[in-house]
């Protein structure tokens, strides 16, 4: 019961990009981390903290990260992500703007 109350409270902020990334599941993205590592892979799943699971990954930049050679799938904690590069035609910018407006309206209330 208490857990529910707390979690409901912190839920509202997260939904926009979670919803957005959900629509990108199955697409190829490049995730750049804060430690400058760039990982290219297929977006497998995302959660409300924007933790990302990628499958079939490859390190995009010159392979100065050889320890990633054998890694096929990875889980990336959301807080370490700097950028996520998306395919442009998979994004509906108009819809995204609308979603942002709605989120802003919700926040105000």
């Amino acid at each position: 019961m208490s857990l529910l109350a707390l979690t409901l409270a912190c839920r509202c902020v997260f939904q926009l990009f979670y919803s957005f990334f959900k629509s990108l599941v199955g697409k190829d993205v490049v995730v750049e981390l804060k430690n400058d590592l760039s990982i290219c892979g297929t977006l497998h799943s995302v959660d409300q903290y924007l933790n990302i699971k990628l499958t079939d990954i490859s390190v995009t930049d010159p392979e100065k990260y050889p320890h990633m050679l054998s890694v096929k799938n990875c889980f990336i904690r959301g807080s370490v992500v700097r950028y996520v590069q998306l395919p442009a035609d998979e994004v509906d910018t108009q819809l995204l703007q609308d979603a942002a407006r709605k989120e802003a309206m919700q926040q105000k209330q």
């Binding site: 707390l6 939904q15 926009l16 957005f20 629509s23 199955g26 497998h44 054998s70 509906d92 108009q94």
Partner: protein, 797 residues
Amino acid sequence: MFRFQSLDEDCTLEEEDEGLVEEEDEIDQFNDDTFGAGAINDDWQEEHKRLAELDERDELAAGLSLGGGGTLGGEPDLGGTQHSSSSSSSSRLPPSAGRLPLPSSLPPLGFSSSSSGLPPPDVEDRPGDGDLAESLARLILEADPAIAGVGAAERPGPPPGPGLSGLHGLDQPRVLQQTSSIPHQHPHHPQLPPGPSASGLPPGPPPSSMLSYQQQQHLMRRGTAPMGQMNSHSIWENSMGFGPVSVTPGLVTHMEDSPLMSIIKEVGLPKRPPQGRNDEGRDLSERVPPPRSSSPVIGSPPVRAVPIGTPPKQPMSHALNHQNSPLCRGPFPPRVGPVLSQIQRAQLLNSQVAGFPRGGPGPPLLPGGGGFRPFFGGPPPPHGHRMGPPPPHGPPNHTPPIRHNTTHLHPQHRRMLTQRMQSRGGDRGRTGGDRRSRDPYSNLMTQKEKEWVTKIQMMQLQSTDPYLDDYYYQNYYEKMEKRQERERDSSKKEHTTKLITPQVAKVEHTYRPVQFAGSLGKLTVSSVNNPRKMIDAVVTTRTDDEEKREKQVWNKRRQILYTVEKMYSLLLEVQDFEKRFVQTPEEDRDALVEQHKSNTEQLCSSLMEKEWEDRVSDEQCVMIMSVRKGKRLISRLLPFLPSPQATAVVMAIARNLPALAKKDKQDQVLCWLVEPVSTVIQSLSSSSLTDLLQELQGSEGQLATVLHNKFGVTLLYLILSEGERMQSSDPNCQLMDDNRWTELVFSVTRELLSVPSSALSPPLFTPPNLLSLFSRYVDRQRLELLQDKLQMSALSR
């Protein structure tokens, strides 16, 4: 004086002697109380070294005795007792250990023979396996620097004695089983005669090393043991007390009296990587203080062998998932499984993971592919953690691919995903090496634990209004479906699939502070569910007027943007009205309709003149449209406006087209307006149409500017086309009633002809009936000219 002193000295000396003696006893007592009865005052480093050597030899020997069926030693007694130890894993260990290449030089591995009696000759018996084991072990050990250091120290020297037990790891059960004491050496005699003490076990109690610490101490105190037996056991046991004892609860037998046993019974240690006792930081349970000699004092927390927070260990959980657990299947009985050392686990992986670089970066690395697969089915899907649909029917060789849990996805999305997977699967075939069905890292959590974690995440994602919370996702896939429907042209009648998301009833949690009548102030009663309100903060919203005043201070553009945003929010509400109307229950519908009305009114009024409430404000429109966002807004707003207002807006656009065109030079987004405008035009009456055309032409030179602009040209064509349609379809149309239309068309054609081709910008599209329109009004020559100019000949009639 002197004598006196000496006397004194003598006296004090004497006293000191006695006192010292007493103090020593007392010190010993304190020592015991602090460290437990087993505390010995010896040099642990030496002990370790010796032990390591002993261990190494012992394990080497033990590991090599394959399937020997427990003939671990020469002692029939021991063997007997060993066998009689029922389901003990220990007796099965050596055979199983033998099958797996062991790092024999690792002392703490529990796979050595528990018996003291593994005779050295066994080492020679199986040289081949020993080499394999040894080489592998060395490979791994050397790779890991931490262990290498230890190993290096241990390797030299002859195997001191075979009888070392794997007390650190797995053979704990035997500790408990041996009730009888064994003879052991006082620790202060380090020189142990190595070698065949194995056979020379005392006739007394079997020399199992697995006595509990305290009992050993008791024995020591009692001094029963013939001191001649200086085998490795003694050292091991004596030092053993400092380490935690890993025991499966099922094997606890007699030692009820010792507090150590009671603790162990209570907890049951989880896996314990026996990395050598030098690595003290590795295992949490190693940080446990050694067991006390007496039960803890009231008031202090009970001594736990495992730190608080260690998840409960359920030994039978491994039995649940047979398929995935190599531990069940492998050479080790289930009980042994959890106590795999890091090295052993690495070896398991080595043997199973294809393509994993052997001895490369070191075994502690996780294998990339194998480890993660089973976890993909779990969180983060917010709605249910059931396993997704079975893997797509790729090529039959395709060993289990990644399981996607798609239950929560929009059906459209799901379809796309499976399509994609199939196509990918066909291309790839058998890449990525051997995908194992077994996962060495499974079963770290029980099903219950997994569900618990999933539930927490799911709770956070339950939403009372999924449409609102998941706005982007839902709309995106709806749009996609619509698009696909349009493309498929309803050949395949898949009716629009709706994503059904579970909804949670919204429960209002209003905080009401606990108050008693007549009391002063608030009570300091707070809990997690209603935390105490510390401050009575009241939210004051500034009124619109004030806001407007503030905004006027800013520059105009910002004001425009602000207006646009406000209108947008209204627009979005209006857009969603329909959807929400369907969803709301009956009672609320009226309210919703009311709100909708007010929204639309507000929208309209925002475009109106301030003074005249019924006229569209040109200025306002232009202002809004000077911003790109505004143009977008208007284009989306037009369909929702009532007809007269929409007409007025379009008129305003036409009237001010040059200005708009100028402002749009950078953005070039006027063409967004084409579609809604064309809709409006098609609903116009003839007189309005004429008016519109007139507006478009406007003052002198306007038309030229219009023709310059793509949108302008398109608009013109639209108007003309509409007029033509009206004329041709409806003979009674009033377009020709006054000459305005004709005149206007004439002027248009004149302009079109006079304008140089370069200045004429190509429209977005050319309506096909323009030619027929022009043919009414112009002679053939001009018509042909027009045709060429406007490139209308390519058009089909």
